[in-house]
Symmetry: C2
Subunit: 327 residues, 2 copies
């Protein structure tokens, strides 16, 4: 039996979760044994009504556990809203944040586990056990890091408030990772990176998802130190985000919203990135990427269905294999 390919991915929510599902489907379809660790962004985490809510961990868990609401990409399928309907007449809370009953149970369970003294990594493993996940899911850090957005108006709001309530309409001046200076990579994240054959960047938001993970002190160092190639999938196609409002985030950090500029920024900002997949529509940027020493390929990148998504993930793995073979 072949030793499984040890893959580490740095992922945000919806886009990353769908990509990971595609990767597993590709492994199953091609008979490639995979040992996958997903390091999830926890910068979107928040305390809501006293509960610890981790949007990206939950989206990954529900998606890979087969319980996601497919239509919206986040939250639970067959969701109910009795609690939310009862909260409204009390006039408290964030009306703009959807809190489904099934989803709420996850937040309650996590908060309970954390209250008993478990780390976020340990609590995540306990929650994941219910779903029998085909990956190891770890938070980027066991310490709380909260992404806040400093608006052009001077006001500072929690990332989720900016993202979900205002749909990122108010221009962001900068992002502040509250708590990041005191954060360390989760132990499981470091161990997985050290043992990895390949590191993948799914098409997650390069600023507030992957960028936040890479901002945890020591994590980018560990990636630079590991021998495995790092291959990313562009979240930008033809100058627009595949999903979400990544352009607004890129604008705030002064990066043009193109497939090439995102890749070059990973290099410039973090000294990372060996391979990069761009969409066929962005094939014109291949020479620029090659000139920067990034092995780039153009291919269809729209994750339109399970098959297309699996093919994208497979292409990323193949590019990684190419980069890790003796040159």
């Amino acid at each position: 039996m072949t030793a499984p390919l040890r893959i580490v991915a740095l992922s945000g929510g919806v886009g990353g979760a769908r990509f990971m599902r595609g990767l597993l489907a590709w492994g199953a379809a091609t008979g490639t044994p995979l040992d996958v660790t997903v390091i999830a962004n926890t910068g979107d985490d928040m305390r809501l009504h006293g509960l610890q809510v981790c949007p990206d961990l939950d989206t990954l868990m529900y998606t890979l556990g087969g319980a996601i609401h497919e239509g919206q990409g986040w939250g639970r399928e067959d969701e109910r809203f009795t609690v939310a309907e009862e909260l409204r007449p009390y006039g408290v809370g964030w009306e703009w944040f959807t809190l489904g009953d099934r989803d709420l149970a996850t937040h309650l369970a996590r908060t309970s586990l954390l209250a008993t003294g478990l780390s976020l990594s340990e609590a995540t493993a306990r929650l994941a056990a219910r779903w029998d996940l085909p990956v190891t899911l770890v938070p980027m850090s066991d310490q709380p890091v909260e992404t806040h957005v400093e608006l052009a108006s001077g006001e500072t709001v929690h990332f989720e408030e900016w993202w979900v309530r205002t749909r990122a309409a108010a221009p962001a001046r900068r992002f502040v990772q509250v708590g990041v200076d005191d954060a360390a990579p989760a132990p499981g994240a470091l161990a997985a990176i050290a043992a990895a054959d390949l590191v993948l960047l799914p098409p997650s938001n390069p600023v507030v998802s992957v960028g936040t993970i890479l901002g945890v002190p020591g994590l980018a160092d560990a990636l630079r130190a590991c021998a495995a190639p790092l291959v990313g999938v562009s979240p930008i196609i033809s100058g627009a985000a595949v999903r979400g409002m990544a352009e607004a985030c890129l604008a705030a950090v002064g990066v043009a919203a193109t497939a090439a500029d995102v890749a070059l920024d990973y290099r410039a900002r973090h000294g990372l990135l060996d391979g990069w997949l761009v969409d066929d529509a962005d094939a014109g940027s291949l020479p620029r990427l090659a000139a920067a020493g990034i092995a780039a390929e153009a291919r269809p990148l729209w994750m339109t269905d399970a098959e297309a998504t699996a093919a994208i993930a497979g292409a990323a793995v193949e590019l990684g294999r190419l980069l890790s073979s003796p040159r």
Copy 2:
């Protein structure tokens, strides 16, 4: 228009809540304007999955707000259990504690309000506003007090665990009010007592409901200092608790489970109690009560329906009026 009769009641959960509803019904039926403040026991409160749960405040609020589950006497009518069903597979929490979806919204709202810096009194008023309560509902204290039970086995458990999970089956050695030394009466409680025309003890548990309220430093002093008579309704009929398992609590504090002994213990322990209603079945104890200077009357005390309950409450008010008229 007659000035309303200012009544203060010290109440636990189910029995006290039903009595209070009877009092209001009696006031409406007899055209007696009432200004009622209910001081609720908060010793049963607990932190559950990170949420602040106040069983007696909630039972009073739902009962007087017309939203109680009549059959069980606590929790919400038309309750749903999606969250509880989702919590179970995570294997966390207290399986024996029923957490309904509608009820959960109250705990979430309270926890949110407390997290914004409101006192428990203020949060209680905010929650009560939704229900348009016909009484002023105040917690006994804004400081957390938790009743723990030291079992004969030496083990110590939260009161709710002993009461709800084991149905008080394990003999209790003593009750410990964790935090009571640092607690003070809620400001609204002291103000209501100072202005009261009459203080009532509904047929609540004399040890862990009324006894806990009276244990808040300064609260019994305020009652002794106020001019209003204090009239109680026996929670014991023919040597057994009207509801619940008060005998187990009385045994732990060395008080015989009789209507007279409970009254005499209020006198001995707290220097309180002017009038006392016992059931007709306990009429034989009237001489003993009279000898102790307690104005006692025997009458039907089973709160079998709304009418019977209103009659009991009315009898308590009438006894109080008798005691406060010039002698």
